[in-house]
C-alpha cells in the first residue's frame, strides 16, 4: 500500500503548495490593488493614524495635520484660510473622501509613496507614527489673497466667479480662486454630524461651492475669444490676402451682420456702430459685426484649428487636477461660425484656458503647460522632486504674438479695458461679456497679462452675477478691477 500513500503525499504537498501560491497572489501581486478598494476601511483608519504631509504656499502651510489626544484619530487636518485656498488644497474628509491636491497628491501626503518607503520603515522601527511628504505649490500668496478678496467682496450672494493666474514664462499657477467657496475644515471635522450637515448644505447650494470653477467649469468666453479669431486671421490671412492689425477687413459690416440661412443677426454691444473695420480698432472696440464677418471669411476649419492649438477640444490637461475641456464646436454652419468667432453659440472655456490664451500672446506664441506643484518634499522636508516647465502648445508664431500683443495693449489704452489703465504698469488685455440665457446677466471676463513688455503674470477673471445692474455687467466693470488687483499684487 506504500505506493499509493506516496502519491497521496504528493497530492497533500500540492494542496499546501496551492495555498502558498495563493498567499503570494493575495499578499504580493494583488496587495496594492486590494488595498486601494474604496470599501477597505483600513485606508480610512490609516489616514487618521498617519502624520499627513502639508500643502505649502510660499513657506506657510495652508493644509496641515495637528496631533490630537485621540488614539483612533491621531491627527486632525487643519486648513488656514480654508475657503480662499479650497480650490488648491481641496478637502480631506472621513465621510466624503478627498479633492484637489488632497486627492491628487494623496499617496505622497499619506506616506504611501514609494519614495518615502525607507523613511517610513525607519520611523516604524523607531516606534514613530508613519508620516507623509509635503507639497509646495506654485501659488503666490499675495496674488491669491488679492484675487480672493477682490472677487468675494464684489460678488453678491447669487454671484459666482473665478480667477486663474499663471506665469506665462513657466506655466506656474500663481492664483487659483473660485467663489463662492467652502470651508474644508468643516468637511474634515472630527464630528461626523458636522461633516454631514455641511456637506448637505453644500450639495443643496445651486452655486455648487465645492466645484472649482477656475478649472472644472466652462463658460461662454464671449469677446475674449476674439484673441483666437484674430490669431487665425493674422496667421492664415483672408481671401488669399495676408492680414495685419492695420488691415481694414473689406466688406465687414459695422452695425449689423446678417447671417446666411438664418433670420438672426449679429449686432454690437448696445447696438453701436463700430468706428472702422480695421482689425486693431475692431479688436479694441470689441466689434462683433467685424469679427463675426472675419470668422466667416476665415472658414470653420481655420478658426477651429486655431482654437484647438490654443487648447480647445483638447482633453487631459492636468495640473495635477484634471481640468475640464474647453469646447469649440464642430460642423458649424456659416451662421454658427460667425457666432462662434465672437465666443458665443456653443463655445465654452474654463477660466484657466482664458489665462492660457493670454500667456500664449505674452510668451511669444508658446503656452507653457500650467502646473500647481513646485516641489515635493519628503517627511523631513528635503526636496524629492521639482517641477520643470514643459511646453503645452505653440498656437502662434512670434510675429503674430507681437502683433496680438500690440492689439491687446491697445484694448487698454484706447479700447474697452479702461479699468486696467493707470495701475502703474502697462497691461495687455481683452474684455469679454458673454450672453447667457434670458433673464441671466452675461458672463463678464477680463483676460490680461502684464507688464506688457516683460510679462510676469497672465490672468483670467470670470464673474457671473445676476444681482448687478445689467448696465454694469460688463467684463471691464466687473472683472477688470479684480484683474487689476491680481496684477498689482504680482508686480508690486
Amino acid at each position: 500500500m506504500n505506493r499509493p500513500i506516496k502519491k497521496v503525499a504528493i497530492f497533500c504537498f500540492a494542496l499546501f503548495a496551492v495555498l502558498f501560491l495563493d498567499g503570494n497572489w493575495l499578499q504580493v501581486v494583488k496587495a496594492s490593488s486590494y488595498s486601494a478598494h474604496a470599501d477597505n476601511y483600513r485606508n480610512t483608519i490609516y489616514n487618521y493614524q498617519v502624520d499627513r504631509g502639508s500643502i505649502i504656499v510660499g513657506s506657510t502651510s495652508v493644509a496641515a495635520s495637528q496631533a490630537t489626544k485621540s488614539t483612533t484619530m491621531k491627527y486632525q487636518r487643519v486648513y488656514s484660510n480654508g475657503a480662499e485656498y479650497a480650490p488648491v488644497t481641496g478637502y480631506f474628509s472621513s465621510n466624503y473622501g478627498t479633492a484637489s491636491l488632497e486627492q491628487y497628491e494623496n499617496t505622497l501626503l499619506n506616506g504611501k509613496d514609494t519614495r518615502l518607503a525607507t523613511q517610513n520603515f525607519i520611523r516604524k522601527a523607531e516606534g514613530k507614527d508613519q508620516a507623509g511628504g509635503s507639497v509646495v505649490t506654485t501659488i503666490n500668496a499675495k496674488a491669491q489673497d488679492a484675487a480672493y478678496q477682490a472677487l468675494t467682496s464684489e460678488l453678491s450672494s447669487v454671484g459666482e466667479g473665478a480667477v486663474a493666474a499663471i506665469n506665462p514664462k513657466t506655466g506656474a499657477i500663481l492664483a487659483l480662486v473660485s467663489a463662492p467657496s467652502y470651508d474644508p475644515n468643516k468637511l474634515a471635522s472630527a464630528s461626523s454630524s458636522v461633516q454631514n450637515s455641511y456637506a448637505t448644505a453644500l450639495n443643496n447650494n445651486s452655486l455648487q461651492p465645492k466645484l472649482d470653477k477656475a478649472l472644472n467649469q466652462t463658460y461662454p468666453p464671449g469677446s475674449t475669444f476674439k484673441i483666437v479669431t484674430s490669431a487665425a486671421a493674422l496667421t492664415d490671412g483672408i481671401g488669399g490676402q495676408s492680414v495685419t492689425p492695420n488691415t481694414s477687413i473689406p466688406g465687414a459690416p459695422l452695425t449689423t451682420l446678417t447671417l446666411p440661412q438664418s433670420t438672426s443677426t449679429i449686432s454690437n454691444s448696445g447696438g453701436e456702430t463700430c468706428n472702422s473695420a480695421v482689425l486693431m480698432d475692431a479688436f479694441a472696440q470689441s466689434c462683433n459685426t467685424v469679427y463675426g464677418y472675419v470668422g466667416m471669411q476665415l472658414g470653420a476649419s481655420n478658426v477651429q484649428n486655431m482654437a484647438q492649438a490654443f487648447g480647445f477640444n483638447r482633453t487631459g490637461l492636468t495640473v495635477p487636477m484634471t481640468t475640464s475641456t474647453s469646447v469649440f464646436p464642430k460642423n458649424l454652419s456659416q451662421a454658427q461660425l460667425a457666432q462662434s468667432s465672437i465666443g458665443q453659440f456653443d463655445v465654452t472655456m474654463t477660466p484657466l484656458e482664458g489665462a492660457m490664451m493670454a500667456s500664449a500672446v505674452a510668451n511669444g506664441g508658446t503656452i507653457e503647460a500650467p502646473y500647481l506643484i513646485a516641489k515635493e518634499l519628503d517627511t523631513s522636508g528635503n526636496v524629492i522632486a521639482s517641477a520643470t516647465p514643459t511646453t503645452y502648445s505653440t498656437p502662434i508664431s512670434g510675429s503674430v504674438a507681437t502683433e496680438l500683443s500690440t492689439m491687446m495693449q491697445d484694448v487698454v489704452t484706447n479700447g474697452t479695458a479702461t479699468s486696467l489703465q493707470n495701475i502703474g504698469v502697462s497691461v495687455a488685455a481683452k474684455t469679454g461679456t458673454a450672453e447667457r440665457g434670458t433673464g441671466q446677466n452675461p458672463v463678464a471676463w477680463m483676460v490680461a497679462y502684464a507688464p506688457a513688455n516683460d510679462p510676469q503674470v497672465a490672468v483670467a477673471v470670470m464673474v457671473a452675477d445676476n444681482n448687478v445692474q445689467p448696465s454694469d455687467a460688463f467684463g471691464n466693470s466687473l472683472a477688470g478691477p479684480i484683474a487689476a488687483s491680481v496684477i498689482k499684487a504680482v508686480i508690486g
Binding site: 500513500i5 497533500c12 499578499q27 496594492s32 470599501d39
Partner: protein
C-alpha cells in the same frame, strides 16, 4: 539459489542479523517542545507590547508556566507510553496550539467589546481546553495500547460518526445554526462542532471497512479504455458516502464538512485499492453534485457567488470574503506585526473560521508560509507513519488521519483565501473552539500511538532452525535444498 550460495551444511544456520537500533528521539522532541514554548511566549509578548498598554500581559508568566507544564506533561507521557513515537508530531501541534492561543487573546478585546464572545473572552476557555486536550491525549495513549483494537469497533464508530455529523441537520436551527451554517450542537451554553469528533470516528471506520473489503473493491472490475470500472454493487459505499455528503451540504449549508468527509473517503478508497478510477468517479460525483446543489439551493449559491465575485456585494453577502482578502493584502510580505493590523474588520468568527486573516495580516506572507509549513510537516509525519507501520489497518488509519487533517487545513485556509468557496470549518489547533481542539489532540494521540507501533523494533525473530521438512512441505533432504524456504518455486507449480 545455487548451491554455492549456501555457506555451510544443513543445520548450521547463521543467526539473522540484529535489528538496527531505532533511536527513540525523545530528547529531540523535548528540544522542539522548548522551541514551541519560546515561539508561543515570544508571540504573546509581542501582543502585549504592541497593545495600548505597551507592556506584558498581567498573566504573562502564569500562562508561560502553565503552557510549559502542559508541554512537560505531554512529553513525559509520550516518553512513558509511546517511547518510539514520531518526535515531530507533538511539537508541531503544540506550536500551532500556542500560536492559536496568542491570536485568540489578541482578538479578544475587540470581540469582548462587540459582544461576540463571553465577557471573560475566549482565550481562557481555549487555554482550559488545551489542558483538557493534553489530559485526554495522555488518557488515549494510556488506554489504547494497540491501535488495531479500533478495528473491532468499526461499525460502532460508523454509527456514532454518522449521528454526530448528521445531528445538527435534524436539530432545530436554534440549536444548530451559527452564522448560517448548521454544523453545531448548542446546549446548556456549550457549542460543540460534532464534525470534529465525527472525522476521527469516520476515518477509523473507513480504515477498518476498506481493510476488510479492499480485495473485492480492487479486483472485481472491468477495464474499459484503460480505466478500471468497478462493478455496480461495489459502487454502493461510494454512492452512499456521496449521498451523505450531499445531504450534509444541503441541510447544513456546509461545503467544508461535506468535502472533508467525502474527500477523505475517496482518497482512502484509492489507498486501499490502488485504483485511480475511484478518484475519478469520486471527483466527478462531488463536483457534479455540488454544482447541482448550488444551482438548486439559494443558500449554497450565495456562498458560490461571493466566491466568484467577492467584491460584488461588499456591504452584504460577500462582505466577509472581501474583508478577508483585504486583511491578506494589508499584511503583505512581512505583516503589520501582531496586534498592529485590523483583522477584526472581518467581523464575526474572526477568531474561528477567519483566524487565518490575522496570520496573513499581522504575520505576513512569511508567517503564513511558516504556518503552512508547520501544518504540512504534521501531515507529512502522519503519512510517514503510514509508510512505516506494518499492518494495513494502521496504514489506512494513519494516512486517513493525515489526509483528513490536510483537507481540513486546505478547505479552511482555501475558503478564507478564496481558493475555494468559503466553508465553515475551524482551522485545526488554531481556531477558537474547545470541541475542535479536543478532537485534534485525540488525532495527535492516535497518530502518536500508530507511529510508536511503526517505529518500535519487532520482537526478536524466531531462529529458523526447525527441521527443513517442517518448514517446507516439499522439502526432501538431499534434493539440493539447503534447509531454508525461499518461497514458491515456479517450476513446481506448473
Amino acid at each position: 539459489m545455487s548451491m554455492a550460495a549456501s555457506p555451510s551444511a544443513a543445520g548450521a544456520v547463521t543467526p539473522p542479523p540484529a535489528e538496527p537500533e531505532i533511536p527513540k528521539r525523545r530528547n529531540a522532541e523535548l528540544v522542539l517542545l522548548i522551541g514551541a514554548w519560546v515561539l508561543g511566549m515570544f508571540a504573546y509578548a509581542n501582543v502585549g507590547l504592541a497593545s495600548s498598554a505597551g507592556k506584558l500581559q498581567s498573566n504573562f508568566w502564569t500562562m508561560g508556566v502553565l503552557f510549559a507544564a502542559v508541554l512537560l506533561l505531554l512529553h513525559l507521557a509520550v516518553r512513558w507510553l509511546a517511547p518510539y513515537a514520531d518526535p515531530l508530531l507533538l511539537p508541531l501541534a503544540a506550536a500551532i496550539n500556542g500560536l492559536g492561543l496568542v491570536l485568540i487573546s489578541r482578538l479578544d478585546p475587540y470581540n469582548i467589546a462587540n459582544k461576540m464572545v463571553p465577557k471573560a473572552g475566549s482565550a481562557g476557555q481555549q487555554a482550559i481546553f488545551t489542558v483538557i486536550g493534553a489530559v485526554v491525549l495522555v488518557a488515549v495513549l494510556f488506554f489504547l495500547r494497540d491501535h488495531k483494537v479500533l478495528q473491532r469497533y468499526a461499525y460502532v464508530s460508523a454509527l456514532a460518526g454518522l449521528i454526530l455529523i448528521a445531528l445538527p441537520a435534524v436539530l432545530p436551527a436554534s440549536m444548530s445554526e451559527v452564522n448560517g451554517a448548521r454544523s453545531w450542537i448548542k446546549f446548556a451554553g456549550l457549542s460543540i462542532q460534532p464534525a470534529e469528533f465525527g472525522k476521527l470516528l469516520m476515518v477509523s471506520f473507513f480504515a477498518a471497512y476498506l481493510h476488510a473489503k479492499r480485495d473485492t473493491l480492487a479486483l472485481a472490475s472491468r477495464k474499459v479504455l484503460g480505466i478500471y470500472i468497478p462493478r455496480g454493487r461495489d459502487m454502493g459505499p461510494l454512492v452512499a458516502m456521496w449521498a451523505f455528503a450531499m445531504l450534509v451540504l444541503i441541510r447544513e449549508t456546509d461545503l467544508g464538512v461535506s468535502l472533508m468527509f467525502f474527500g477523505a473517503f475517496v482518497i482512502m478508497l484509492y489507498l486501499a485499492t490502488e485504483r485511480a478510477s475511484w478518484l475519478i468517479f469520486g471527483l466527478l460525483m462531488f463536483v457534479g453534485g455540488a454544482a447541482l446543489v448550488a444551482m438548486l439551493f439559494a443558500h449554497v449559491q450565495t456562498r458560490f457567488d461571493s466566491w466568484l465575485n467577492p467584491f460584488g456585494d461588499v456591504s452584504g453577502n460577500s462582505r466577509q470574503t472581501a474583508q478577508s482578502l483585504y486583511a491578506f493584502a494589508n499584511g503583505g510580505l512581512f505583516g503589520t506585526g501582531l496586534n498592529q493590523g485590523y483583522p477584526t474588520l472581518v467581523g464575526f468568527a474572526n477568531n474561528a473560521d477567519y483566524i487565518m486573516d490575522t496570520v496573513g495580516e499581522e504575520l505576513g506572507l512569511v508567517g503564513l508560509a511558516a504556518l503552512l509549513i508547520a501544518y504540512g510537516l504534521f501531515v507529512a509525519r502522519g503519512l510517514k507513519t503510514a509508510l512505516l507501520v506494518r499492518d494495513p489497518f494502521g496504514k489506512l488509519f494513519a494516512s486517513g488521519l493525515a489526509v483528513v487533517f490536510a483537507l481540513q487545513v486546505f478547505i479552511t485556509a482555501g475558503g478564507v483565501m478564496r481558493v475555494i468557496p468559503l466553508t465553515g470549518l475551524p482551522m485545526p489547533f488554531l481556531a477558537a473552539g474547545g470541541s475542535a481542539l479536543l478532537a485534534n489532540w485525540i488525532l495527535v494521540a492516535l497518530l502518536l500511538r500508530i507511529s510508536d507501533a511503526a517505529r518500535r523494533p519487532l520482537p526478536p525473530a524466531l531462529p529458523l532452525t526447525a527441521p527443513p521438512n517442517l518448514l517446507d512441505p516439499r522439502g526432501v533432504p538431499g534434493n539440493g535444498n539447503d534447509g531454508r524456504y525461499y518461497g514458491q518455486d515456479k517450476a513446481v507449480r506448473t
